[in-house]
């Protein structure tokens, strides 16, 4: 009977009353202000703005800034470990969005009234903040898009259709996100260009030697990730750019998993194009950006047509604006740009180097803890003195489907991880798997989160093992 089955299960599972704090519920944190001077007066902002104390990790110091983290899921404290999919937003960003819509929402670039001027200033200030954040020499090299996927499509359809022809090659790795692959498949079909993919080494990182050998005078573009969303590996972009430029190829860097987590300097990297998404870096969804070198953007035809991107419109033809406007058709995501600007302020207030150092510590802790769990296979390189992993682990547990693991972790323990192919089907196919689970951290996570995840994972494995 059901009750007896339930009784049998209760013997397998530990009590769900839990070692977790049972009093956690959705708490409203103190209000945070945009100005760091004002922010120091509040506990929320003090945690955000200051260096983490010696007794308090960066994760503990910043958690109060993120209201969404303070809730229960199915009776357990939320442990959010899905940051590679999307990050959570600090109160400063929420306030910026709210303030925009409450105080000065207006369409940009055209109006002459006060609200429009203020909105335009805020939108363009956000663009400058992005430029400063990645050390782009000119804010006109920042094109706002809906997200990194749209940014890659912009390059593909605008630069790609104009510059690729039969016989040309686009070099990628098999570890690329679908958004970095599919647009080029479409453009390759239209232009006759060929896509070439670099495989992995035995250490499960893209083979740089093979990539270097693949580059030739036929290579027109190299598209690759900075940090892999599955392998957690970090590619030597500066070196690759040198190799690519030597053969006359451009380089497009997918920086979705690097810009939120470390210092990214486009001048140092010397990449020709770089893309990232706001929602992975504490900013709102609905906005991302393309960085492109001025001379490249200037030579590129429009991607989408409409208002804003034109200079003059006649019945039989139109002339187009200069970049970045040329590539920003229609009313932009103004509030979202302002939110992204606030996110950049927040991250800069902590310091990207500090965030990176903390996350390296977390990454090693996560990897080390997960490696100790029996029957777990982690993908990507092992961390070492020469190999730094991002703070994420894609893994599989023998004989248990990752979706089952993720479901149980969520339902029984409030632990949020991702399962599936993580938009990296070619990589999964290469590794001989159909799906994997992924735990990914951000600077507001703590070692306690990792401990809670590992405890929950062991319980999950024990549960499913008892079933077989």
């Amino acid at each position: 009977m059901m009750s007896s089955i339930g009784g049998a299960f209760s013997k397998i599972l530990p009590s769900s009353s839990s070692s977790y704090s049972s009093s956690l519920s959705l708490k409203k944190p103190p209000t945070c202000f945009n100005s760091w001077a004002l922010a120091r007066r509040t506990s929320c902002a003090a945690a955000a703005s200051s260096v983490a104390s010696e007794t308090q990790s960066l994760g503990h110091a910043t958690r109060p800034d993120f209201p969404i983290l303070h809730q229960e899921i199915n009776g357990s404290k939320l442990v959010y470990l899905d940051n590679a999919a999307t990050s959570q937003k600090p109160t400063a960003v929420l306030n910026a969005l709210h303030n925009y819509y409450e105080a000065y929402n207006s369409n940009v670039h055209r109006g002459v009234h006060f609200l429009s001027a203020k909105a335009t200033d805020a939108y363009e200030l956000a663009r400058k903040k992005v430029a400063t954040f990645i050390n782009a020499p000119d804010s006109r090299e920042i094109v706002f898009t809906r997200n990194a996927t749209e940014a890659i499509n912009l390059v593909a359809y605008s630069w790609g259709l104009t510059n690729l022809k039969t016989g040309d090659q686009v070099v990628l790795t098999i570890a690329e996100h679908h958004s970095a692959v599919v647009p080029w498949q479409i453009v390759a079909q239209k232009t006759g260009a060929e896509l070439k993919f670099v495989s992995l080494t035995d250490d499960e990182v893209p083979d740089m030697e093979a990539l270097r050998k693949l580059l030739s005078k036929n290579t027109k573009l190299v598209v690759l990730h900075h940090v892999s969303n599955m392998l957690a590996s970090v590619l030597p972009i500066e070196e690759i750019v040198l190799w690519a430029h030597d053969v006359g190829a451009k380089v497009l860097v997918d920086a979705c998993q690097s810009v939120p987590h470390m210092v990214v300097d486009v001048q140092s990297l010397n990449a020709d194009f770089l893309v990232a998404s706001s929602h992975k870096m504490c900013g709102p969804t609905g906005i991302g950006f393309l960085y492109g070198k001025s001379e490249l953007l200037a030579a590129m035809p429009p991607f989408l047509g409409g208002g804003e991107m034109i200079a003059d419109v006649f019945l039989d033809h139109s002339t187009y604006a200069e970049p970045p406007s040329r590539f920003e058709a229609g009313t932009p995501a103004i509030g979202e740009a302002v939110g992204l600007g606030a996110a950049i302020d927040y991250l800069s207030g902590i310091g990207m180097q500090k965030i990176h150092e903390y996350e390296v510590e977390l990454a090693n802790y996560l990897y080390g803890s997960l490696r100790e769990v029996p029957n777990v296979r982690i993908y990507g390189p092992a961390p070492s003195e020469t190999v730094t992993r991002a703070a994420l682990c894609c893994f599989n547990v023998e004989d248990i489907h990752p979706t089952d693991i993720a479901t149980f972790l969520d339902q029984q323990h409030g632990v949020a991880i991702r399962s599936g192919h993580h938009c990296a089907q070619p990589l999964h196919r290469f590794l001989g798997i159909n799906a994997s689970a992924r735990a990914s951290l951000y600077f507001y996570n703590t070692k306690q989160d990792v401990d809670d995840f590992i405890t929950a994972l062991k319980d999950t494995i024990s549960f499913f093992s008892s079933f077989k």
């Binding site: 059901m2 009750s3 489907h401 979706t403 479901t407 339902q411 029984q412 599936g420």
Partner: protein
């Protein structure tokens, strides 16, 4: 066999001897184990000799549409009574164990259900009387559990009965809060696949008269 617990307020229970989720809490639903699937036309014997008949299914070819609806309600009632989400997981895992062991031959590309995060293989056939027979396998135990419920509902049903089941009717079976169009909502994808392939087989067998089936398919 299964038994009816109609009067009790306790949660429905599974009998270990039955692979069919046993219980309907609604006292107004009478399920007669012997005649539950009675039809106006001749019923099949319990020991169906058709090679694809699952030995678990009783009178597979005599599901009345009324009965499929009752089974849906029964299943919904059972899952609704499971207040804790983890209990739904456990229930599904138990149902997964009740699926018969299938050999590797079912795991063909032809049988693969596209669009699922877990791998699901679904075999759909129409028996010689025109009723639908389903077999399913998956690499995910929770998905197997969902599939087991779907099999119980629809194996042996007529094509009309298969396509009449709506995804939203089974929303209560969801583990967690999964919208119907989520890629993680595998059981919804499996149901749709069952229905689409049922329509295809019905068109093959019965021709134009089955075209109206398409109107009932959940999109």
């Amino acid at each position: 066999m299964y038994s009816l617990v109609s009067q009790s307020s306790s949660p429905p229970s599974l009998t270990s001897s039955s692979s069919i989720p046993s219980i309907c809490m609604n006292k107004h639903i009478q399920i007669n184990p012997r005649n539950q699937n009675s039809r106006k036309h001749k019923p099949f014997s319990i020991k169906c000799k058709h090679p694809i008949c699952s030995p678990r299914i009783i009178n597979p070819s005599v599901n009345s549409s009324d009965n499929v609806a009752r089974k849906v309600n029964c299943l919904i009632a059972e899952f609704k009574s499971l207040k804790e989400p983890i209990d739904r997981v456990k229930t599904l895992l138990h149902y997964a164990t009740l699926l018969p062991f299938l050999d590797e031959s079912i795991r063909s590309e032809e049988n693969k259900v596209p669009g699922c995060t877990a791998q699901v293989w679904l075999e759909v056939k129409m028996d010689f009387e025109g009723f639908m027979r389903f077999r399913v396998d998956s690499d995910s135990e929770i998905t197997k559990g969902f599939a087991s419920c779907l099999i119980w509902l629809l194996d042996g049903a007529s094509p009309e009965e298969v396509v009449a089941v709506k995804a939203e009717d089974l929303a209560e079976m969801n583990v967690g809060i999964l919208p119907a169009n989520s890629r993680v909502n595998t059981w919804n994808t499996v149901l749709l696949s069952m229905q689409k392939r049922t329509i295809a087989l019905a068109e093959q067998r019965f021709g134009d008269s089955s075209k109206s089936l398409a109107l009932f398919t959940c999109k």
